[in-house]
């Protein structure tokens, strides 16, 4: 009997491993996939080099961590144990707050003044960096204004500002620091930059509205709060652009358990049981069709908060054209481009009526994420001028051994051609130090839009103004030239006149 018990237990032990292996290879038990996004590790190919430097072994272990049988169950069980016993999460990107509230860690850092420390320890230096970006933004705003385009900033609220009472103590620290979400509004006010501060507004509205402003286990504002933001945003655009746009009508809040529950952070925790929380509320949204209203073109450059607006509001009914530049990188809703690396900046900016830089409290430190200097450069200088500056920077690189060593290392590490890395680094240098490379952008003056754009704009104005085109038509007859030639001559003269006056 004893021997049989021993044998059975030994065989059962092996069977556990066999079952895990069979599950890995066949997935004979269907298991709900894990929430969150992970980088898929491919089966590593064995090479002598990879084997000798142990990268093969490392990758094989990583691969096995993603593939082993019943992985989902193991991870969910352990996470549930961490949650139930310690109120903790194993996920680095989720901070567990009090009373079952979840936050993204950088929002908690934002609240405790710690965000600036990823860049510098020096608050004064940090302030000067933010100021430089704000000054650039002001110049861009004014330049665009002269072209009939309205630019403004929308500060989205962060959950940490609206619900600080649930923030986790474990991330709490007392530290002197500059909060970009506080310092930027100060700069915007002092420089005269258009902005709307929903962070402040949300804090004021907390407890006054009959719906949750943020979900307990999600990152972004609630759907219903986002709908109200969209409505306010349209009204702000009407005010600032002096125009009439179709407004939204938002119905009464109601509970709907069938819709997206707004619990992205909870999904990442991968627990077995749901966290108890109050239900999410929604509202029906419709567009009030006003025949006298215009449907402007809008370019949103923003973070993920904007999705809750875009996904709910009937954007096509409000705007004749809209596109979304996600962190100034991926482009959505533009038939011609998928990425800002391919885009013709000047053409895209000139083809719009409103540009919104929309970032939340924890992300506003990177305001525009490179959009502002790029827009300035491409509106003020043509491709030949930019290429000349780039060539200068690359020549400087060749003369700087330290820089070249850095670039060679980077090229090796990323497995890229050295020339490609040099090109990218030169462009990065050009944008980050644009006042050095383009002295025209240095100083308090609003820079001139580049000549071809300026002339095209004046030509369009000439054609659109009946009195002006009449006059030019008379000149064309007098000079005996085609009308367009006369329009162009007038536009060039007017552009030069404007430039000399400034």
């Amino acid at each position: 009997m004893e021997k049989w018990v021993h044998r059975i237990l030994c065989i059962l032990t092996m069977l556990v491993f066999v079952l895990m292996f069979v599950q890995e290879k066949t997935h004979f038990v269907s298991i709900k996939p894990l929430g969150g996004v992970v980088e898929e590790i491919a089966w590593p190919n064995i090479t002598m080099k990879g084997y000798a430097d142990r990268s093969y072994q490392t990758n094989l272990e990583k691969y096995s961590k993603q593939q082993f049988g019943f992985r989902e169950c193991f991870i969910r069980c352990y996470n549930q144990y961490l949650w139930d016993v310690y109120g903790m999460s194993s996920v680095a990107d989720v901070s567990v707050g009090k009373d079952g509230w979840l936050y993204e860690p950088w929002f908690v850092d934002e609240y405790y003044n710690g965000l600036m420390y990823k860049d510098t320890d020096d608050p004064e230096f940090y302030k000067s960096t933010l100021r430089q970006e704000a000054v650039r933004l002001y110049k861009l705003q004014e330049m665009l204004k002269s072209l009939g385009i309205t630019l403004f900033v929308m500060i989205e609220p962060g959950k940490e500002r609206v619900y600080p009472e649930h923030l986790p103590d474990r991330q709490k620290y007392e530290i002197e620091g500059v909060r970009p979400a506080d310092y930027y509004p100060y700069l915007f006010d002092s420089l005269g930059i258009n902005y709307v501060n929903f962070s402040k507004y949300f804090v004021e509205q907390k407890g006054k509205v009959d719906y949750p402003l943020f979900p307990q286990t999600g990152t972004h504002w609630s759907n219903i709060a986002a709908a109200h933001v969209a409505d306010s945003l349209i009204r702000y655009m009407e005010y600032i652009g002096d125009t009439n746009i179709n407004n939204l009508e938002i119905g009464k809040p109601y509970i709907d358990s069938t819709r997206n529950p707004d619990d992205d952070l909870e999904q990442m925790l991968n627990l077995i049981r749901e966290i108890p929380k109050s239900p999410n509320m929604y509202a029906d949204i419709s567009v009030v069709n006003d025949t006298s209203a215009s449907r402007p073109k809008i370019l949103i450059n923003g973070d993920s908060f904007a999705w809750n607006i875009i996904n709910q509001v009937y954007m096509d009914s409000v705007f004749s054209k809209w596109q979304y530049w996600y962190y100034n990188s991926t482009i959505y809703k533009n038939p011609d481009y998928n990425s800002t690396s391919e885009v013709d900046y000047a053409a895209e900016l000139l083809g719009t009526d409103f540009i919104v830089l929309s970032y939340c409290t924890a992300m506003i430190y990177g305001l525009g994420y490179g959009f502002i200097p790029k827009a300035l450069v491409h509106l003020c200088f043509d491709d030949n001028q930019i290429a000349a500056v780039r060539a200068n920077i690359i020549a400087t690189m060749y003369g700087n051994e330290e820089w070249m060593a850095y670039l060679r290392n980077k090229a090796n590490a990323e497995g890229r051609e050295l020339e490609d890395v040099m090109y990218d680094d030169a462009m990065n240098n050009l944008y980050t130090r644009l006042e050095v490379h383009f002295p025209e952008l240095n100083g308090p003056e609003i820079p001139h839009v580049r000549k071809d754009i300026g002339i095209e704009l004046i030509k369009s104005n000439i054609y659109n103004l009946p009195e002006w085109i009449c006059e030019v038509r008379r000149q064309a007859e007098e000079w005996n030239v085609p009308l367009d030639t006369a329009v162009t001559r007038n536009a060039i003269w007017y552009y030069n006149q404007q430039k000399s006056e400034k």
């Binding site: 292996f21 193991f74 352990y78 016993v85």
Partner: protein
């Protein structure tokens, strides 16, 4: 390959065990040999050839030594064998350290540093060297006959369960088992339980404590208050014990599954009432090696008192240096040597007078301070940390990591439970009792739960390096 990795736990080990038990008894050593070569080749591809070559060379050196009729030839061959083993250790483990110090001295005299290629430390070389030496010396002393088969010798030296982090198995302890051992189902189960205990100690305790310790010591040490500093060093004390003893448990368990009986490496070391006792309970196989192959040949206790104290110091300095090629390990060895001498001079009498529990507490504190020297490689940082321990700057200690706190409490409880009769009984039951069928079923369920739980923890957290991996 470490034991607490998916590749080992989920693929290598099950595949090996199936192959091992499918193989007829007389060929099982070949299966073990093949698995050990694969195991080592996987983790240390650039060293497998040197390791195998030096093992083969040593086998034949010892064979010729035993056949030699003249004592002088035997002595010479024994010396060459030890020189080859220690030479490899010196080159791979202490080459960088030696060159760094030579260059530091040259720098003092304004000379240019000597250029040299950094040498990578092969895993397990310290254990490999010591086992080779025990084989040579035990055979030289006539305690055992040399192995008849080269394959058996390679199995002894390179057997994967204990090659990476011990225990150091002396040749005379295992010689018979390599050629003939019994395989029993109940032993397999006990081996499995022991392996799971080790794995759980490593993953569920040591790694959890280690993450917190690394976080604290990764910041500015000078900012730590006294309370936090003591918690850090206490946590590290526990981390080191559960990590290293966990690995030893896994090795002993794996050995037991294969029918081997490896020596115990730990015996509740933090229950020691003196540093001398600590070294009889901590890394027992290293202590035993040092005593038999260094301390006794130096003269041991059978000499004048000053000479005995000198011998002790030499043994502990070298023991410190064995743990790592860095000055902090030398200081750590000297620190322990100092207290051993003090205990022989007067401290031992003080301990006897104050009783067991106060002595255990004092010894534990001394050991903890020693671990600070062991852990913090930079001498300046180490000194700063020790001054923080005794600065009596008691700010409010804020530890928000509930898992860490619970784990530390559990670790402390497990470490000191054997001080009491009840705890000793439980430990004897777990480790040394033959179970009835029902007990087996219950323990198997618990072990399986712990195994699966450890696999879950291992895969949720990516932090799992062994502290003793490179010793």
């Amino acid at each position: 390959m470490v034991f607490s990795s998916n590749i080992f736990l989920l693929y290598f080990l099950p595949a090996f065990l199936v192959l091992y038990f499918v193989t007829p008894n007389k060929f099982r050593n070949y299966t073990l040999l093949l698995a050990s070569l694969i195991f080592y080749a996987y983790g240390a591809p650039d060293f497998i050839i040197q390791l195998t070559a030096s093992t083969i060379l040593n086998f034949f050196l010892v064979k010729f030594m035993c056949k030699a009729k003249k004592q002088s030839v035997r002595k010479l061959l024994c010396g060459i064998s030890i020189f080859v083993s220690l030479g490899l250790l010196a080159y791979y483990k202490y080459g960088n350290f030696t060159m760094e110090n030579i260059n530091a001295i040259r720098g003092l005299f304004g000379s240019e540093p000597v250029e040299w290629m950094k040498i990578l430390l092969p895993i397990g070389i310290s254990f490999f060297t010591f086992q080779s030496i025990t084989y040579t010396v035990d055979t030289y002393r006539g305690i055992n006959q040399p192995m008849r088969k080269l394959s058996d010798y390679i199995v002894y030296i390179m057997m994967f369960p204990q090659l990476i982090a011990g225990p150091i198995v002396r040749y005379n302890e295992i010689a018979g088992q390599i050629e003939h051992r019994e395989h029993k189902w109940s032993e397999c189960l006990h081996g499995f339980y022991r392996f799971v205990i080790g794995l759980s100690k490593k993953i569920l305790i040591a790694d959890v404590l280690g993450r917190w310790v690394d976080l604290q010591l990764g910041g500015d040490i000078a900012l730590l208050d006294t309370g936090t500093s003591w918690i850090v060093i206490m946590a590290y004390t526990m981390q080191l014990y559960f990590d290293f003893s966990g690995y030893s448990d896994m090795a002993i368990g794996l050995g037991r599954i294969m029918g081997f009986s490896f020596p115990e490496n730990f015996d509740n070391p933090y229950n020691s009432a003196s540093i001398s006792e600590f070294w009889r309970r901590w890394h027992i196989t290293l202590g035993s090696f040092m005593r038999n192959y260094l301390y006794i040949p130096l003269g041991g206790n059978r000499c004048s008192k000053p000479r005995m104290y000198f011998n002790l110091w030499v043994v502990f300095l070298l023991s410190g240096l064995w743990h790592g090629a860095s000055w902090n390990f030398v200081i750590w060895g000297a620190y322990h040597g100092f207290f051993l001498v003090m205990e022989r001079l007067f401290l031992g009498k003080v301990y006897k007078r104050i009783g067991k529990f106060p002595s255990v507490l004092i010894t534990f504190i001394l050991v903890m301070v020693g671990w600070a020297i062991f852990r913090i490689e930079n001498i300046g940082d180490c000194w700063t940390f020790i001054t923080r321990l005794f600065s009596f700057d008691f700010a409010a200690v804020n530890i928000h990591d509930a898992q860490f706190v619970t784990t530390l409490v559990v670790a402390l409880a497990f470490s000191f439970v054997a001080l009491f009769g009840f705890g000793k009984k439980v430990m004897n039951f777990v480790y040394y009792t033959e179970y009835s069928s029902w007990q087996h079923i219950v323990v198997w369920i618990v072990a399986m739960f712990l195994l699966l739980f450890s696999i879950a923890a291992l895969n949720v957290s990516s932090f799992s390096p062994f502290i003793y991996f490179r010793f």
